[in-house]
């Protein structure tokens, strides 16, 4: 916790938080990192395998094979979300399932399923990007900033 936040607490609150903090089990960061590496690595290996398959058997090039590969991963992720398996894999894999495209597909699929009971328009449509929305907003904005940087450097004669 930041010091600024701590200053607002009364001495009793600070004392209690120190006591509670000692008794709370901590997130097993090291074990989580290893699990995330293994699970995330497996997903990426699967993606690599798919890309190879599309190049080898379906006449895609290295440049164009990315699209069908991502589509297949999204499909698998949405399917596993619908079958109720994905959240269990995620509890084990942590960031390993959140970072690849499968995590993004899961946010959209899970929110859609969850709000099906409120109807297609207000429920599914209105809530589909509830979690994914901020990823899209900040992702697009970051891409815009990076593009600006690239253009500026190019104009200045770099690259």
């Amino acid at each position: 916790m930041s010091n600024k936040k701590k200053k607002k607490l009364t001495p009793t609150q600070q004392e209690y938080q120190a006591l509670a903090n000692n008794l709370e089990p901590k997130r097993p960061v090291m074990a989580n990192c290893i699990k995330a590496f293994l699970v995330g690595g497996t997903i990426c290996t699967l993606g690599q395998g798919l890309q190879w398959m599309f190049i080898e058997y379906f006449n895609f090039t290295e440049d164009t094979a990315g699209d069908p590969t991502v589509a297949v991963l999204i499909f698998i992720s949405a399917l596993l979300t619908g079958l109720g398996v994905y959240d269990h894999i995620a509890q084990f894999g942590g960031a390993g399932t959140a970072v690849p495209v499968t995590g993004f597909a899961n946010t959209v699929a899970s929110a859609s399923i969850e709000h099906r009971s409120e109807g297609y328009v207000l429920g599914v449509g209105g809530n589909m990007f509830k979690l994914a929305g901020s990823v899209i907003a900040f992702g697009v904005f970051s891409a815009f900033v990076v593009a600006l940087v690239k253009i500026t450097i190019k104009k200045l004669g770099g690259m």
């Binding site: 089990p25 994905y86 959240d87 995620a90 894999g93 942590g94 399932t97 899970s110 399923i113």
Partner: protein
């Protein structure tokens, strides 16, 4: 009758004529499955939304309690109930089904004992001859409202708890046989500045300790008076912290007496992290497990301290800390 600062002693000792507990599939695999009157394999309970499923759980718990007491639903004079949903829809919609005078309560997970203590007060003050107290929670509705979609893959920390899918109800009467509600201590808000919704046990533990202290101070009772002192849903993390705090305040409860409904309800092997939580946790464990044990005379004196975290999904996004409360009810046979 008020005793001390915040404790009611019920002179007429209202009787819990009948009680019930209804649970979901996860509770059916739990350690206390045998104490439920009804267990459902399907978390949807055949309904088309989770919210309707929770309402059905509460309706069933009320039906079972009313039937066990040998009454019809129109004989119930007052219905007091609470749950975790926005605008306590599960309780209000169940009250619509029952069609009896209704007082809706919100004390988050402490609603079960808030309802029981107020029902006992109504009977003790002769404002009612009978009253039905109930509370419910549903894992999927709570996740949907307070956290993320149920199928969303977020890794929860070891301090997180599992919301119980269940409802409990108790029908109180002025006279008859059975466990009796003898006293209740109404808690005050305690906020230790914690704001992590994945660590409710630590947030609520000080509120439980505050109410337990107030109870023993107001009644001037020895800590060994009760056979069991059970908190509502502190879970393993909160229970450990509450035990440490009690020792610090010179109120050491002997081992075997102090326990927690959120620890009792599930098996060690179930993936519930720190334990159970929700209104349904204290409601089903008290109105099912503990009252069954009292009727078998395994327990004679019981103190239930139901804890509640009174935050909203908006308040924690706005970085507010979590105000917590605990209400204690003493039941004897």
């Amino acid at each position: 009758m008020l005793k001390g600062h915040q404790t009611w002693v019920f002179e007429s000792k209202p009787v819990i004529a009948a009680s019930s507990a209804v649970g979901g599939p996860f509770e059916a695999q739990g350690a206390l499955a045998g104490d439920f009157d009804k267990l459902h394999e399907d978390i949807w309970l055949g309904q088309d939304s989770f919210e309707k499923a929770e309402k059905r759980l509460l309706e069933e718990a009320c039906e079972v309690a009313i039937n066990k007491a040998g009454l019809k639903k129109e004989d119930v004079q007052f219905f007091l109930s609470g749950d975790l949903m926005n605008q306590i829809i599960s309780s209000s919609f169940t009250a619509r089904t029952l069609g009896v005078p209704f007082l809706g309560l919100f004390g988050a997970c402490s609603s079960s004992m808030e309802a029981l203590s107020l029902a006992a007060l109504l009977i003790d003050s002769k404002a009612a001859e009978n009253a039905l107290a109930a509370a419910s929670s549903h894992n999927a509705t709570a996740e949907k409202q307070f956290r993320y979609p149920t199928e969303y893959g977020a890794q929860k920390p070891p301090t997180a708890q599992w919301t119980v899918t269940g409802a409990g109800a108790a029908l109180l009467k002025g006279e008859g046989d059975g466990p009796r509600v003898v006293a209740a201590t109404i808690g005050r808000i305690v906020d230790m500045g914690l704001s992590d919704p994945y660590n409710m046990g630590a947030a609520m533990a000080p509120a439980a300790v505050d109410t337990i202290q107030a109870h023993f101070r107001d009644l001037n009772r020895d800590i060994t008076y009760y056979d069991i002192i059970a908190t509502g849903d502190l879970g393993r993390v909160g229970h450990q912290i509450a035990s440490a705090l009690l020792v610090k305040h010179g109120l050491e409860i002997p081992p075997g007496i102090f326990t927690d409904c959120g620890i009792l309800i599930y098996n060690q092997e179930q993936p519930v992290l720190a334990g159970g939580s929700g209104c349904g946790c204290s409601a089903t464990v008290t109105f099912g497990h503990f009252l069954n044990r009292m009727r078998k005379e395994e327990l004679r004196r019981l103190l239930i301290v139901a804890t509640g975290a009174l935050m909203s999904p908006l308040s924690y996004q706005q970085k507010e800390s979590i105000p917590c409360i605990a209400h204690a009810v003493a039941i004897e046979i």
